[in-house]
């Protein structure tokens, strides 16, 4: 395996609706910022990969024009996934492992504001059995939370604690959409939104984008004093039908974590892509993270959840904290699909 590291990260200030600029205009400044952070010009980038979704944009081939923000001229080696940008990092990492790139740039963006996100995401479901019912992701998450609460896997108090901690952490994150101090008791006195979920159990609806730059071996050492080395990387998927899954746990996260070697050494912090409070509890358990592990110091997806991007942000946030010495070993996680159907786990380490 080649040594590959995240050497630069940039993100937008996430907002409920970015209505004055388009995707290209949203990406351009942070592409520049990420390249500057890596100390390279775009001509040194060997491979570019991006993550976004046509359904979110409401436009087929929506990713095509976003490439203009990078300026792919002369022609570049480039690919795109209709997945969270964390998987675009995976594709870039694979390309680097295959010896076809030394420096790669990955970006992702998601604007949920153009459409009705709950309706849009219902189009993710089995088109024959579930699609016609227009079940939305919040309702499915509520169903998962109910199963967990009934089974005693977690409590409403624990869920509220997750929300309070996330917002408290986000106070130090200038890019977060939500932050502040919230008392658990006050949160629990709020009415239910989609029972048993309260508003604080659900993510905000966000528009945002993010960019990371990856470098391998010598290039990483040349360009960064403290690269965040990728020491384990895997992703797994579970059945689509919720009835055939145990919703109180995350089997695919456990599988990916085992493959990525999460448990091999102590973990200092974890950035978990948990859009719902109970999902953070499920993920902490599936990853085997002990109480001392700092969870979502950025505030996580509960404080800014740009679709197709929130997973990539977890990787960038974790990498930043390895680079600045806050952590020597961090876990970044990304998820896709209803009720944590698909999960990606990345282990980042300093020297």
């Amino acid at each position: 395996m080649r040594d590959v590291a995240i050497i630069s990260f940039a993100q937008t200030k996430h907002q409920r609706a970015v209505s004055d600029i388009n995707e290209v205009e949203m990406l351009m400044p942070i592409l520049g910022e990420a390249l500057d952070g890596a100390g390279v010009k775009k001509d040194r980038v060997d491979f570019v990969c991006s993550g976004s979704s046509d359904y979110l944009a409401g436009q087929p081939f929506s990713f095509v024009m976003s490439l203009d923000a990078f300026g792919p001229w002369p022609p570049i080696s480039e690919s795109h996934v209709d997945m969270d940008g964390a998987w675009a990092v995976y594709e870039a990492w694979v390309k680097m492992q295959a010896g076809k790139a030394d420096i790669a740039l990955v970006y992702a963006y998601g604007k949920s504001s153009p459409g009705d996100i709950r309706k849009v995401l219902s189009r993710q479901l089995d088109p024959y059995y579930l699609g016609p019912l227009w079940v939305d992701p919040v309702s499915l998450a509520a169903l998962q939370a109910r199963v967990g609460l009934e089974a005693g896997a977690f409590s409403a108090e624990q869920m509220a604690e997750v929300a309070a901690a996330s917002r408290r952490n986000a106070k130090a994150n200038p890019y977060a959409q939500l932050s502040g101090d919230a008392e658990v008791a006050a949160l629990l006195s709020e009415p239910e939104f989609v029972a048993p979920l309260r508003k604080h159990d659900c993510p905000p609806i966000s528009d945002g984008a993010a960019v990371v730059v990856l470098a391998a071996d010598g290039a990483a050492r040349e360009l960064s004093e403290h690269p965040a080395w990728i020491r384990g990387f895997d992703h797994r998927i579970e059945p689509h039908a919720l009835g055939s899954r145990d919703l109180t746990t995350s089997v695919s996260t456990k599988q990916a974590a085992a493959k990525a070697g999460v448990g091999d050494k102590p973990v200092d912090l974890a950035e978990l892509h948990a859009p719902f409070t109970h999902q953070e509890l499920i993920l902490r358990d599936a990853l085997g993270l002990s109480d001392g592990v700092s969870i979502n110091p950025s505030g996580g997806a509960l404080c800014a959840n740009p679709m197709m991007t929130a997973g990539l942000i977890r990787m960038g946030e974790a990498a930043n904290r390895v680079t600045n010495g806050e952590a020597s070993r961090a876990v970044a996680h990304a998820t896709s699909g209803p009720c944590l159907q698909q999960n990606l786990v990345c282990v980042l380490e300093g020297e």
Partner: protein
């Protein structure tokens, strides 16, 4: 930057491409996958990871369908990856799968690409109009017809070149049981007399709308050697390359895009090819409108600039010519969009494996698979060979 594992294609599979496939989306992708596994003499349990590609989700009306297809493709408990790079996606998807093996991450990867255009209104899905952009007046043909006109203006190519390509591809398709169009009565005159849809593109010079899927089983050197010693020759990957350039920019050459030229030289260099016309035995390229064959012959360096049409006219690209092109009948005979790029890659592999049946070209040692997408700004290519690199 070298040091990657050798990669072999040991199984290919595809559905019978047709206007409307009665199977479910899951059924269609699974059929192609099962055929590829059977060809590779493997079972679902042998597969380490699944890589799936398709064009816009609006074509089937299912967002991120890999989530729903995880069960049908035996991906539960495994990594499942979804690629989308416009029309070149079938090629880009195969390249991601080959990279997973080349990198030594997995030993056996199943890759699948599909489209079920009948599930939704493809014309509608392609033309969701942006209120603040110039109105698109004519669909895909209307987009590409001006480029073809520019090619004709530049090269002085006579009108019948497009007809020759369409006739050749549709006749080749008669030898391919999986091809969508089987036009037994087709003649030069019937193509010529078919309706001029987007002048200079005639109806019979246009690809159909198809439902279909394609799958490949890709393994490492050990897997390739095992297949070979079992009398099932693999196709060895000798090079892969991707290129993208902006969709529109001042002075962009859409007839002979620089991205395609550079992608081709990149893949040839990896395969140790200096003279593609002499060293490549056959080519399966992405030709959705007949005139793209002469254009791509130039773009891929098989003919000099302005000479591609002469190569077509000479018969060189016929099944019995010295550089057969689109032996399967090509995109002009079957176009399940998301799968079309992978079908080109699969045909290249089938030819070097000697598995192409009636449309097999004798003695193929080296073949090029080519895909492009968007407005000719995305390219994916691979070279496969009978000999281990």
């Amino acid at each position: 930057m070298m040091g990657s594992e050798r990669v072999a294609i040991v199984g290919t599979g595809q559905t019978k491409h047709q206007a409307t496939n009665d199977g479910s989306i899951a059924g269609v992708v699974r059929q192609a996958a099962e055929r590829a596994l059977e060809d590779a003499q493997m079972s679902w349990a042998d597969i380490d990871a699944v890589v799936i590609g398709k064009a816009p989700d609006f074509f089937e009306g299912v967002m991120m369908p890999e989530l729903y297809l995880a069960d049908a493709l035996g991906a539960v408990g495994k990594p499942m990856f979804r690629v989308h790079t416009a029309g070149s996606v079938g090629g880009s998807t195969a390249i991601v799968a080959q990279d997973l093996v080349a990198a030594g991450i997995h030993e056996r990867v199943l890759t699948v690409a599909f489209e079920k255009q009948s599930e939704s209104e493809a014309m509608w899905a392609l033309s969701v109009s942006m209120p603040f952009q110039p109105p698109m007046h004519a669909g895909a043909g209307g987009y590409f017809a001006p480029h073809i006109r520019s090619y004709i203006r530049r090269t002085g190519a006579p009108d019948h070149i497009g007809i020759l390509v369409a006739l050749k591809d549709r006749l080749n398709a008669l030898k391919n049981p999986y091809a969508h169009l089987h036009e037994h009565e087709i003649t030069f005159d019937s193509v010529k007399e078919s309706m001029m849809l987007w002048d200079p593109i005639r109806y019979s010079e246009t690809c159909p709308s198809s439902d279909g899927a394609c799958a490949l089983v890709i393994t490492n050197e050990k897997g390739g050697d095992a297949a070979a010693s079992d009398g099932r020759p693999p196709a060895w990957v000798k090079g892969t390359a991707l290129r993208s350039e902006p969709t529109m920019f001042a002075g962009r050459d859409q007839v002979n895009p620089r991205g395609g030229q550079e992608c081709a030289w990149d893949v040839y260099k990896q395969a140790g090819i200096a003279h593609p016309r002499d060293e490549i035995d056959c080519v399966e390229m992405y030709v959705p409108f007949s005139w793209f064959e002469p254009m791509w012959l130039e773009n891929l360096h098989f003919a000099g600039v302005g000479e591609g049409w002469k190569m077509v006219e000479s018969g060189a690209t016929q099944l019995d010519g010295d550089l057969p092109v689109n032996m399967s009948g090509g995109v002009l005979s079957s176009n399940p969009i998301g799968a079309s790029g992978m079908l080109r890659f699969a045909e290249a592999a089938m030819q070097v494996r000697g598995q192409a049946g009636e449309h097999q070209v004798d003695g193929v040692r080296t073949a090029l698979g080519h895909a492009y997408g968007g407005g000719s700004q995305f390219f994916a290519m691979w070279i496969v060979g009978a000999e281990k690199p």
